[in-house]
């Protein structure tokens, strides 16, 4: 736990402007080295193509017919683009309620993101900045849960949630995942580095504890909120084990569970399955590219908590 939190070390004002230009050694390369540069570039190009290939397959399959997906020969591109796959994947004739699952996923991910960030930011601030006798002890009990991977506790948590009668409900999907010790930890580190004089200035202006937090601290750490929010959203949208366990009734399935059920159902329509998968992935990819900087920054601080 004592490893320095490298991502959070930057001063607040520049944290939203993480350097994107990479420093180079500044040494002119001798001609012999050109060979190395060529090898490296080739490695990168081939690697990038390999890494993008699955996305190409995903889109190709969504526009292909069944025979082109699972036939006996490889198909580069569908002979005829089957745009109807998308409509059919969401039609009610389908046994898997894709539309409903999509709506559930949006509700769950958005709610979970907002609430997780609010709860964790407040707790992180309290632990970092409000002097309290048992603060260390409480931080310890929070951090201890980081040692127990959440996936190991899925049995007991299911037991707990089912005894509350929350199986197959949005409550059951959302609430148990709201208490992220990791997010608290990240916020606590971030707020510990927050300049004290800014807070003091707020206090002189007559703000109370909450006022300082809300009017001074939050507006100055917006980028960090975006980073934690983006990571939480991705994790929530893509999570599978918990929604699988808790979503027993199809009306409470998330998009990941619906896709999984689609694959294991008796009548798999592969074209529709992939069309649904594209719909499940594309919005997140777009969001991901748009917010890439924040997500990277968030991950960087996650990575240095080890």
């Amino acid at each position: 736990m004592s490893t320095p939190v490298l991502g959070a070390e930057r001063p607040v004002s520049s944290s939203s402007a993480a350097p994107t230009v990479v420093r180079r050694t500044g040494i002119q390369r001798p001609p012999i080295e050109r060979f190395g540069v060529a090898v490296r570039t080739a490695f990168l190009v081939v690697g990038a193509l390999l890494f993008l290939m699955p996305f190409y397959l995903l889109i190709r399959n969504a526009l292909a017919n069944r025979r082109e997906i699972v036939g006996l020969k490889f198909t580069w591109w569908p002979a005829e683009l089957q745009w109807t796959n998308f409509a059919e994947a969401f039609s009610s004739a389908n046994d898997v309620p894709m539309g409903r699952a999509m709506v559930n996923s949006v509700i769950v991910s958005v709610t979970q993101t907002v609430l997780t960030v609010v709860l964790a930011a407040m707790a992180g601030y309290g632990l970092a900045r409000i002097p309290f006798r048992y603060s260390k002890l409480i931080s310890g009990t929070v951090l201890a849960t980081l040692l127990i991977p959440s996936a190991v506790t899925f049995v007991p948590t299911f037991v707990m949630v089912s005894s509350l009668g929350w199986v197959s409900s949005l409550r059951g999907l959302i609430i148990p995942g709201l208490f992220s010790a990791l997010a608290v930890f990240l916020f606590r580190q971030q707020f510990s580095d927050f300049p004290k004089d800014l807070e003091e200035a707020g206090r002189i202006d007559g703000l109370g504890w909450f006022g300082v937090f809300w009017r001074v601290v939050v507006p100055n750490t917006g980028a960090f909120f975006a980073a934690v929010g983006a990571i939480t959203f991705l994790g929530s949208w893509n999570s599978f084990l918990w929604p699988l366990v808790i979503g027993q009734d199809p009306s409470s399935w998330t998009i990941q569970v619906a896709l999984s059920a689609f694959t294991t159902s008796q009548t798999v329509d592969y074209s529709q399955l992939f069309a649904a998968a594209v719909i499940a992935v594309l919005p997140v990819l777009v969001l991901f590219l748009a917010l890439q900087r924040f997500i990277r920054q968030g991950y960087e601080s996650t990575g240095s908590t080890g």
């Binding site: 699972v70 006996l72 046994d95 898997v96 299911f158 089912s162 009668g165 199986v167 197959s168 027993q248 009734d249 199809p250 999984s260 059920a261 689609f262 294991t264 159902s265 008796q266 009548t267 798999v268 592969y270």
Partner: protein, 400 residues
Amino acid sequence: MTSASSVASSSSGGPKPTLQQWYHQYGEEGTKAAVDKYAAAYPDATVKVGWFPGDYDSKLASALLTADAPDVFEAGNGPSIDAIQGGLVEPLDDLLGDTKADFNQALISRMSYQDKLYAIPQVIDMQLLVYRKSLLDAAGVKPPTTFDELAAAAKALTDGDQKGLFVGNDGGVGILTGPTLWSVGADYLTDDDKVGFTDPSVATAFGKLHELFASDSLLVGAPSDWFSADAINTGLTAMQFTGLWTFPDLIKELGDDFGVLPWPKFSADGAGAPSVPIGAYGSAVSAKGKNVDAAKAFVKYLWVDNTADQVDFAQSYGFHFPARESLADQATKLKEGTAAEAVKILQQYSHAQSPLLWTPASATALSDAVTKIIKNGADPASTLAGVVSKVQAELKRVVK
């Protein structure tokens, strides 16, 4: 419609209870619409249908623990022994009355525990071997009657991308365990609830399945698994172990170019016999529901009294066999051609899929062992011996 009207009365005047009814996903087109229609037609309660693609058994097992358990649900071969002993399901004997004798007795006893019936069989499903007549003729192969003949036929029918036999992408682990046991005269459990597969011939038979898997004549890695007719219809295989429910597809694609067989006995002179596994989803009532009596009344309405819907359910969406003998005559589609032959096989060779006391833990232990034998070529005798103690522990737990 006033509050004075009797709540107990099930007449259309009183407030109707709401019932949850669960089905697993049936692959045949139109089944969902059909069960919705049956539910909507019931006058005495509002019935909401739950329809579950994917792993239905797990969902059902964990739902039965919670307050949201479905009032009425179907369960493969009836509720599990743990659900019955845990008091999670209601006995249903009083719903049948005189009609009890009309139901398939093998299934009635499969769904009973200590002389109480816990589910009403809906329709009978059967697995069996289908083959392309023309391909066998062209290769000069006769329909096999022993395992060795089957393996030889599979070899003779293999030609490039077309393989001889398809028994599932797992090499038969999922669907051939029972037929293999019966093919040498063994069984999962003996009649007095002891482990039933300790005879050395069982190991020999499973060893042969590994040889088949290792040969080039068995289809694996097919896009659609054994329960769909795709593999045989698209020419990936000449013979396939599949379900009676694929008949509409088979007839549509192959016309009368297909024949049916039971899984053959292991050898001509052994103790075994040809066999086909049969099973049925049984309709059961949760004991924890808020409207147990209304749920029972609905089950009686749909699966005892309403014979027209039962016939419709059995033969309109894929082929199934009615669970009641008096209805078999009305299932006209089962009276002609290859379907009639399948019915003959069913009457002669059927075995209930697995016994009631064969718990999921026992099933996992045996299927793990069979996977190791078939796929990895593990020594059959010692691998099977490792299962015995696990099954004995389970039997000790559930035999009361």
